[in-house]
Amino acid sequence: MDLLIFQAPILMVQASLDGILLGILFALIAYGMALQWGVMNIINIAQGDLVILGGYIAYTMYLVGIHPAWGVIVSPIIMYFVGWGLYKLVINKVVDRDLFISILATFGIAIVFQQLMNFIFGADVVVAQSEYGTTMLFDNSVTLPNSKIFAAFISVIYAIGLVIYMRRSKLGRAIRATAQNARAAKILGVDTEKVYAATFGINAALCGVAGALISITLTLHPYVGLPYTVRSFMIVIVAGLGNLPAVALSGMGLGLFEEFADYILGTEFRIGAVFMLLVFILVYRRFKLSKKREYLK
């Protein structure tokens, strides 16, 4: 138990801002996961590895002398095709099977991606430099890296863009229809195969954006994908499928919770605290569901 945060209340501001900025970034990854989980009923274990691959694309640009921030445009384009190709190669064979098969398949993809990235980019931890500087608030007692602000800003733009796209465009409507009822959508003339491929592509593209942002805010390594998968899985569990505002809120909420757990319980319990919260939420949901069933009986 550490009371530092109560002795120096300015730390609360720092913790809140750090938590929210990071939470928004995680929410973007989680949104991709929620989207394809909702549409295709696939839990993508390779989500985090797609993120890291997106990050390596931005890092490669940085190596050849292009500012890594351009990665937020280049990386999703490349990653869209990676996702699309993955769908055509593997996912289309497991899309209507049970959840277990798809988890196994994406787990396999995750391993292949990790090894490939290790092979191509090496096992060293790398970072791309954005040189964006720092924003100081409250007489320098609160510092916010501009790269984190940039990351949150870009995440919000992509999220809003995606919502509009899903509402307005034909493909967006087809995706939503397929999510509601794939069979009915098929009968009404929606090419669900195409919709699935596009959904997986969009998810990968979102991972690409997040990856590019992570390359300038955090660090990259071929084997650090799993924490991102787990984090986005948790956000989706808390928020439910197909509900963007809830995903954004739950992302920020988890970010905040994590930061405060760090200050109050200690860093070693930071991730443990989040898992405890997850257990509580799952138990609570189960409790609510069981009440519902009683009513139906």
Partner: protein, 413 residues
Amino acid sequence: MNKLVKLFTIFISAITLTLASISSSFAKVEGEYIVLGSAISLTGKYSSNGVHTQNGYNMAVERINKMGGVNVGGKSYKFEIIYYDDESNPKRAAQLAERLIKQDGVHYMLGPYSSGLTKAIAPVTEKYKIPMVEANGASRSLFTKGYKYLFAVLSPANQYLEVAIDLAVEKNGGKPVRIAQAFEQDAFSQDVRLGILDAAKRTGSKIIIDDKLPKELNDMAATLAKVKATKPDVLVVSGHTKGALTAIRQISEMKVDVPMLAMTHCDAAKLSKQHGKNSEYALCASQWHKNLSYKDKFFGGGKKYDKDFKKEFGYAPPYQSAESSAALLVFKDAFERANSFDRDKVRDALKATDMQTFYGNIKFGPGGQNVAKPMILFQVRCKGDTCENKVVAPTKWASDKFYHPIPKWSERS
């Protein structure tokens, strides 16, 4: 059906027999070759350091063989190493160690990369009484288990940053300092932490922040905000390359001012290259540096090793390669002193090792750790945009003066 079972039995026994005959054909010493075995991470998350280790071994094998080999019983032998890829996986490493010993008949082992993998292999080599000289497992727990066949040429992990605390106290006019520390939760980093705790106790210093970073964590903002609020005299960070890179990135972004910053893994993280000026003044623990004045007749000194290694492999040798090369010098020396291939005689000779190599003096303590070599500290210093690691402690080898305190971010250009 019965026939089938019989056939199957015959088939299996035939295979077993073949395998048995193969395994006996590989012996500890084959013709003029002394066969050593090593499971090493050529793929997986330790693959870059695994390759550094392998290059170090290979370089020494080639050099020793070229310069007359190993003289045992009046006859000259050459080294040869059987490598297997352990995929950076401890379970696999232990299996491969069994395979090296039981199937390939290896009687002498070289260590893998990292403390974790060495920990996985050590029980196996102990069980079969196989002497193992390792160069990349620094965890203190390796040396407290009473292993009799394990010898490490490197200094144990708890010594990595102890010197830094002494240095901080010295700069503080001999008065105790306030320490903030953040360590990853793995065997190695926690051992480094134990070293700091000892040093703090010895100097009467106070630890005001003691964060343990989860392995998955790649964000230290909370720890650094605490550091900013409490203003310690020293900040100590250890979390492999990821920890080093994350720390420098966020310290520079959050403009955290500390008079002294001590870390591990700076050279493995290529800190001065990846973060440039932002990494300036960071103090780093290292097992070896090319500027040290140790000498041996195989590699000459550190500078010559550096040059030869560059020529052979195309990059400057990290300390992981240097210590791996030293492991073979130790083996050669022990074989010659034992003047026999008897495993226990070789083990006793290893135990009595007291020699100087280009990498440092080597003498094994009761637990098998090297007690003759101090850790060194270097500091990242920049001239213009190029940054370099300069040795600052111990003073005997210091090429530059230790810069203290670190200037505030507002005064840095």
